[in-house]
Amino acid sequence: MTSWLVELGQSTAALLMAPALVGLIRWLKARLQNRCGAPIWQPYFELHKLFAKEAVVSTNASWLFRAAPYVVFTSTVAITLVVPLMLVPLPFDGFADLLVVVYLLLLGTFFTALAGLDPGSPFGGMGSSRGMTVAALAEPTVAVAIFALASGAGSTNLGHIASRLIASPMAALTPGHLLAFASLFIVMLAEAGRLPIDNPATHLELTMIHEAMVLEYSGRYLALVEWASAVKLLIFFCLLANLFVPWGIATTVSAPALVLAAAALVIKLGMLCVAVAVLETRVAKLRLFRVPELLSVSFVLALLAVTSSFVLR
């Protein structure tokens, strides 16, 4: 029973922490670019404002446009229930594994893309087309990376993978692991819409993918969509952190272990934010037609991860 409460608690905490992650990355980028930057809590103020505003919906849009933000938000939040955040093994671990997580994310992308086409705006169509291209091309890398993780841990269930790694720490330094981390990092950039694949801060026609799909949203809908994309970023960070560097995660439900786990999670997320902020400041956005090249490199890295773990068996 207590583990269920911890589960729900950590999921709520993740939901509430997600906008701060986005705010931290923005603040770090601003500092690196010699600007003052908005405070880390800025996204919370934005969400608060958006929830109070009136939503304007296009006359061309149908019920799908109005339902899509809820579908995306719900599916993303549901994923936080099965991702290892602070406690392993999770009570919901047997209900969903890594493949379910990946395809639930695809569910969100599917509905966002449909909602981009609904108002009949060319920006939305463009965003949907590019967004689905990137999502489709990132799928093989994720699948092969899952193969690498699962063949090492013997199962695709997330709690299993994390527990197995805690039990044998040397396995984290295997080249297979590191290569899988590199390939999943690139996929994270693609799926969460960060540079060099997509620029989350732009509304220029040539440079937006995710922003184009949600261009017509306003008010509560926009708040839900923005929050959902922040939670998606958090989910990817947690997967990268806790499936590859799981030390600090609590294995028992006890107050000191959970506090340590929370602190470890915050530190790991912070480090990932710094890495992403530095990367985003350092590189320029890739042309859309150069993105498949990057994704094919990540696919080959994942394939190398699997083959090197085969040979070392």
Binding site: L173, A182, E293, S296, V297, L301, V311, L312
Partner: protein, 220 residues
């Protein structure tokens, strides 16, 4: 056994990094990226040699590592940058095989390397045997770079990476070759490099570009 485990992990890690830098050359298009990839790769090969020296106790390999680092990670990249600046730093914008296909072919070549070296890995008792397929894969990838790219400078870099991969293979398979042989191989590569430098200068003078395909126009 822990040290043995760490040794093999580190050797596989080093070889994977060298291979990844090789893939980098297939992905990027500018000469500057190629030169830095080559420099880092030489650094990694030097690191692997130093590590093998540490774990196997063969101190001559430290000298080899220093040589590799000095010549291939510092001197030659500097020379290549100078050459690039002199000849206009052409970008590899239309290679014979496009980028995604090159990268995927590299993956296939690595799989081929795995199956080709399977008997060697099975028979070998060395802790570094897990890294041998990766070094073999780097050899194939370097050859692929030489074949599929159009610009002369890229081909030179491919040749130098090939030499890197052979050095890596030597270090992994036999814990290094006798110092005399190693120095001989280095001098050979250096001579080849200097000769190629003369050729690049000539090609640029005649055709105003470094596209190796232009050499076709020499025949009548």
């Amino acid at each position: 056994m822990m040290a043995g485990g760490l040794f093999s992990q580190l050797s596989v890690l080093g070889s994977s990094l060298a291979l990844v830098f090789g893939l980098f050359v297939l992905w990027r298009r500018s000469l500057g990226a190629y030169v830095s990839a080559f420099a880092w790769q030489s650094g990694v090969v030097a690191g692997v040699a130093a590590m093998v020296a540490h774990f196997s106790g063969d101190h001559a390999l430290y000298l080899v590592a220093a040589l590799v680092f000095g010549i291939k990670a510092i001197a030659i990249p500097r020379l290549l940058t100078v050459m690039g600046r002199r000849f206009g730093g052409d970008r590899e914008s239309h290679p014979y095989v496009n980028t995604e296909a090159s990268v995927l072919s590299a993956a296939v070549l690595v799989l081929v390397a795995y199956s080709v070296t399977r008997p060697v890995v099975a028979l070998s008792q060395l802790p570094t045997r897990g890294a041998i397929p990766l070094a073999m894969g780097l050899t194939f990838v370097s050859l692929f770079v030489v074949i599929s790219r159009k610009k002369a400078l890229t081909q030179i870099i491919g040749f130098l990476m090939l030499e890197n991969s052979i050095a890596l293979l030597a270090v992994l398979c036999t814990y290094g070759i006798p110092l005399i042989v190693e120095i001989g191989v280095f001098l050979d590569a250096l001579m080849g490099f200097l000769v190629m430098q003369v050729f690049v200068y000539r090609i640029h003078e005649t055709f105003e570009s470094l596209d190796v395909e232009q050499l076709r126009h020499l025949k009548h």
